[in-house]
Each structure stands twice: as C-alpha cells, then as structure tokens.
Amino acid sequence: MLDFIIYALIAGLSVAIVAGPLGAFVVWRRMAYFGDTLAHSALLGIALGILFDINLSLAVVLCCVALALGLVAMQRQHWIATDTLLGIMAHSALSLGLVAISLLDNVRIDLQAYLFGDLLAITPEDLKWILLGGIAVLAAIYWLWKPLLAITINEELAQVEGIQVARYRLALMLLIAMVIAGAMKLVGVLLITSLLIMPAAAARRMSATPEQMAIFASMLGSVAVVGGIALSWFADTPAGPSVVVCALVIFLLIFFAPRPRA
C-alpha cells in the first residue's frame, strides 16, 4: 500500500549516503561544474540505452565515463580553457540527449521524470540496482580513501610519492558517474550536482577532519531526502526539487548559525 514511499525512502537514503563522501571530493577538488557536465550527459545515456536496448543505468554510467575520458583527452590541448570545454560538453550532451529521445518514434518517455526525477515511481528492480550500486561505491570509496585524499591534497606530491594519480582520478570519475546514474531517479539530471555539493558544503563548518566532513555530508543529505519526501507527501510538491529545497534550507541554517565559541 505504502510500498512506493518506502522504496522512495530507501533509494533516496542510499543515494544520499553515497553522495556524502563523493560530494566532499567534488567540493575539495572544485569539480562542481564537472559533475554538472557528467549529469547533463546522463540524458544522452538514457537515449542511447533505449536505442541499443541495454540497461539504462549501465548506459548512463558508460555515457558519463565516455564523456569524462573525452574531457581528459581534450584537456591536453591548450587553446580552450577547461570551463569553456565543460560548458560546451554539458549543453551539447543535454541537447543531443533531448534530440535523440525525440527521434525515438516508438517510445513514450516521461522527459520530466528524467530531468527532475521521479522518486515516487521507483520500482523494486530500480531499488535493487541502487542498493547494489550504492554498496559497491561505498566499498570502493572506503578502499581508495587514502590515495584519493592524497591526490586531492596535491597531485604532484602524490605522484612523486609513488601514487598512480591518473588511475585514481579515473576511479573517482567512475564513482561519480555511478552516483549520477543512481541519483538521476531521485532528483533528475538537472539537479544531481546539488545533491553532491550542498550537503558537503554544509558539512564543512562542523567538520575538523576530511572523514568527519564525508560522514556529516551523508547525514545531512539523508535529512534532506527524508524532509523532501515528507514535503512532497504532505504538500504534493515534486519530490526531486523538494529534496533540493530541503538541502538548501539545511545549508543556509548551518551557514548562518552563530559560530560556536571554542
């Protein structure tokens, strides 16, 4: 009876927990715009997934990774700055996705659901993938935590100290791509980055170590998910944007809270 709200809660909490530590990396490494670009390309992944009839989450991950690799290759040239490049890629990927979906004659797609999320339409099958993916990403973050932190502090130092920087940077991109595939159901491609960066940014003020910041980000993200779903339930608002609005309220509360006296 209330199955769909339980599914929505479990899926939302899984994504929020995983997004905490990854969002922290996105904030520390100033990758917000990069995350946005990957998220925009998710829609292209959906279109290609339908076209080639493969699992849509897998298609999104593959598309994000392909875009990330393309970006790394493009960064080797020096005549266009990275932020311009990201802007070109983000909007091209989104537009290509929209055009491709409109060309798929036989398929009716609820575009709104992909752009802004449709948390309350999550099926048990979706849930299974989100949970499995979430556990895999969390395990990977735990395992890669130290080298990821080392390349975040300084890539050259890490390289000289024997860390394979390129490999870990790629791993981080892959993990972000997986979270985007999961979060798309929750808040949609246009709002995913907010779920990564807002809880992490809010967690900064209450954290004294990187680990604390990652854990607090997961917790604040979870609160935002529960609050957003509650808002959606009681006020009949769209679930994805409601979650983001809750994250904003949390961020503002913490940002403007009086500084505790040490």
């Binding site: 390289q159 000289v160 100290e161």
Partner: protein, 255 residues
C-alpha cells in the same frame, strides 16, 4: 665530485609545441652535495625539476636515477582548497600512514613541532614551507628536491631556512637539488651552482659562477632585481662568445 651519482639528466630537451623550454641539459646529482639551480623567470627551472621527478616526459634525452632512489620533493607552493579540513599532522600522515613519533620527529627537525595540530590553512608562509620540508623528510630521502624553498618567506626566515637545509644535508648526507632566484642568498649553503636559461649557461663552484661572464650577463653585476628584463636578448649575444671559465662554463652546452 667523487660522490656516487644519485640521478642524471643526459641531453634533456623539452618543447611545448614550438616553444623550447629546455635545450640539451646535462645535470648530474651527487650524494652529500647541494646543487643550486639559478636562472631568470621562464628559464625552465621548475620544468627541469619536473622532468627529473618524472612528472613531465622530456622531448629528447634521458633521465637516469639510481635504482630505488627515494626522492623527497618540496613543491614551490601548494594550494589546498579551504573546504578540506586538514591538520598539519594529517597532511603529513597522508598517504603513507606515518606514525605520531615519525611525524613529531620530522616536524622537530624543521623546528615546527608546535604546528602539529594546526589547520593547514592557518599556517604562515614560513610555517607552510617548513611543513612541506617535513613532509619531504618523512620519506627519508636520498635526494631532496626543493623548488624555491624560501618562497613567501621574509628575509630572516629565508636565511634560517637555508641554514636548516644545510644542516639537514650535513646530518643525513643526502643529495639536495634546489631552485633559487638569488645566488647571493644561497652562496654559502651550496656546493655546486648551475645557471640555467633554457640551456646550462655555466656551472661550477658558487664563487666561480658568480664571476662568470655568462652569469653576470644573465643577472647583471649585482642587479638580481632586474633579472626579468634580461630574459631574452642575452641568448643571442652569448651564443657567440663561448667563454670558458672554471667549471664547465659556457662550454659545449649550446645548441
């Protein structure tokens, strides 16, 4: 220089597109010896260090390092985003998980033991440089590579840092390669000077280099402050007169 070699650059050239950054540079680095790299802005000092560290692949030439050479690297400056909460202790721990004793010993050896619980974002220029030096020392290096170790440090602090580097070398008998803007400051704490301006202009004992016409041409008689102005035209003039003074000054290094 009878000490065993730690590392060697042989005929290293580096180009980015059409821009030549390094041109046929030979540089041996020895145990228990401080080599100082001087040269004007844009002379390729940092690039040379990056080639040595394996961060940048040379366009031509080879980099040889002693097998299992441990390098401690102190970058020019590092920027850590303020959103990353990090204490000095944690900064030194990552990624190899050194224990508390090692970390305190490394900080003590650079005179910065009181900083252990500071946030990395609250350090002054000099404190940051000491912390970076401590991190390089934690690896117990055979070769210390210091890119402008006194950057952002006031003049008293600079003298102190150079003395610290000299002491570290005496104590550990390791090789040191450092980059500096100013020969006069490092004169007393260096054994070997290499004057770089895309190619090696001259090299040798500090006194010999400071009297070398190529050096004087590069820096002016005592006008270290005007060195940026000298960036280009000297290249042509001293390609023509290949003065050889003590050391291997202006020898066959030119292309």
């Amino acid at each position: 220089m009878s000490n065993p070699d730690l590392a060697r650059l042989d005929g290293v050239s580096l180009r980015f597109g059409n821009k030549s950054v390094l041109n046929n540079v030979n540089l041996p680095l020895h145990n228990d010896c401080i080599t100082t790299l001087i040269g004007p802005n844009g002379a390729g000092k940092s690039s040379l260090v990056k080639v040595l560290l394996g961060l940048v692949k040379p366009t031509e030439g080879t980099v040889w390092t002693k097998p299992s050479l441990r390098i401690g690297y102190m970058p020019q400056k590092i920027q850590i985003d303020r959103t990353l909460p990090l204490t000095v202790k944690r900064f030194l721990q990552i990624p190899h998980g050194y224990n508390q004793n090692d970390i305190e010993a490394a900080l003590a050896s650079v005179g910065a033991e009181h900083l252990v619980d500071y946030s990395i974002h609250d350090l002054s220029g000099g404190e940051m440089q000491r912390t970076l030096l401590a991190r390089a020392l934690l690896r117990n290096p055979d070769l210390l590579v210091l890119d402008e170790p006194v950057q952002g440090v006031d003049i008293n602090g600079q003298t102190e840092l150079y003395r610290l580097i000299t002491d570290i070398r005496k104590e550990r008998k390791c090789g040191v390669l450092m980059i500096s803007h100013d020969l006069h400051l490092v004169m007393s704490s260096t054994d070997h000077v290499v004057c770089l301006n895309k190619h090696v202009c001259c090299s040798g004992h500090p006194e010999a280099v400071s009297a070398d016409p190529a050096y004087i041409e590069l820096f002016g008689a005592s006008h270290a402050s005007t060195l940026a102005l000298y960036n280009h035209h000297h290249n042509h003039s001293h390609d023509m007169h290949g003065n050889v003074v003590e050391g291997d000054c202006c020898g066959g290094d030119h292309a």
